[in-house]
Amino acid sequence: MYRWDFTPIWAHGDLLLAGLGNTLVLTAVALAGGLPVGLALALARLSGNRLMAAPAGLVIEVFRTTPPLVQLFWFYFGLPIILNVEMTPYLAAALTFTIQSGAFFAEIFRAGIVSVDKGQSESARAIGMSKAQAMRRIILPQAVKRMFPAMMERSIELMKTTTLVATVSYADLLYQANELAQKTFRPLEVFTAAALLYFVTITLVSALGALVERRMAQSGEMTR
């Protein structure tokens, strides 16, 4: 029978927590970048202008359809060759996950926007609003409320996907766990602890999201 021993992990707990911190930073950066990128891609795809819609559609489909790990390797190992620049793990990861989550957010934005009744944009246009005003004042505020659950779900997927950066040596939680496992020869305890840390963090984030969602539903006078 295996004798569990978590003491070496307590001793290096700060390492895991620092890793968790880096995971959260990367997630936040990709989220902050991915939301505007996603909105821009969605608006371009819905613009009705082929010169904008086609490239936006291509970016969206490619980043949704190819494996994230291949994307990360492409940005980390491949892109510096074209651009002739130094690539850091952080930069490669931030780029990959910003564009990738942007591609997923774009489809959520798009679905939200087209789900708003056509009469809404018509009555906005009928009082003289421009397309941009109607989008900003009338359509997006209604769409965003509906999109919130999908956005939340995608953000959690994003946080889980950031574990891939461990493969290019960005010191996230998984990378730190792997280091620690090798240092302490206690892979069972270390990986179990890491899994639990992820579980607790992600469960907390989704619970928070569910809470916000319920608040929005309660205060939401928009349910017809």
């Binding site: 295996y2 291949v70 491949g78 990986f191 579980f199």
Partner: protein, 221 residues
């Protein structure tokens, strides 16, 4: 600035890539069957009469959905051998991680599908004397599966993408072979472009088919 793309090393190594492709497809096929199959069992346990079965299944779903699949694969690869005295190959570890993760996701899909069937369907079947199990098998599941087919297809596509994670534990699949070729020929740009393109060319038709399926089901409902 003007980098000259050179695909010859990749063409020369087509056999290594082909071997990787076989590994990818093999892992995908196993995980697809196990993941979607086990998911159905978990979904049924989730609505079982027995509280214990419900709790176990909820715990399973929550745990595997709320931890990253790469952590799961590495756990099965590095941690599980400490507990059980069997050798865990990269293939086994990847199967465990990807299948269980996919089971948790697909269980939620099945559940949503079963819940979407109107109570009248159950009542009508019970009214002609069918048992609960018969109703589930003959009336509810066929309709529910039809409704969730697009979601399941999406899951399948996700499983295919997830197979690349097995390269982290050195299972021989496409990305692993790509890494190898790139490190020998110093051509990561070409390699990862080609690997990405291969995945895209294979998966995109499926993505389109799923869209079409969604539209068709939306119309017929």
């Amino acid at each position: 600035m003007t980098y000259r793309w050179d695909f010859t090393p990749l063409l020369d190594n087509w056999q290594a890539l082909a071997m990787g492709a076989v590994g990818t497809v093999r892992l995908f096929a196993v995980c697809l069957v196990l993941g979607l199959g086990f998911g159905l069992i978990v979904a049924l346990a989730r609505r079982s009469r027995w509280r214990l079965a419900r709790w176990v299944s909820i715990g399973f779903i929550e745990f595997f959905r709320n931890t990253p699949v790469l952590v799961q694969i590495l756990w099965f690869y590095f941690a599980l051998p400490m507990l059980v005295p069997v050798e865990i190959t990269p293939f086994t570890a990847a199967i465990f991680g990807i299948s269980l993760n996919s089971a948790a996701y697909s269980a939620e899909i099945y559940r949503a599908g079963i819940q979407s069937i109107e109570p009248g369907q159950w009542e009508a079947a019970r009214a002609i004397g069918m048992s609960g199990l018969q109703t589930l098998r003959r009336i509810v599941l066929p309709q529910a599966l039809r409704r969730v087919l697009p979601a399941l297809t999406n899951r399948g596509i996700e499983i295919f993408k997830m197979t690349t994670l097995a390269s982290v534990v050195a299972y021989i699949e496409l990305l692993h072979q790509g890494k190898l070729i790139a490190s020998l020929n110093f051509n990561p740009l070409e390699v990862y472009t080609v690997i990405g393109a291969l995945f895209f060319l294979f998966l995109y038709p499926l993505v389109r088919a799923t869209y079409a399926l969604e539209r068709r089901l939306a119309r017929s409902d």
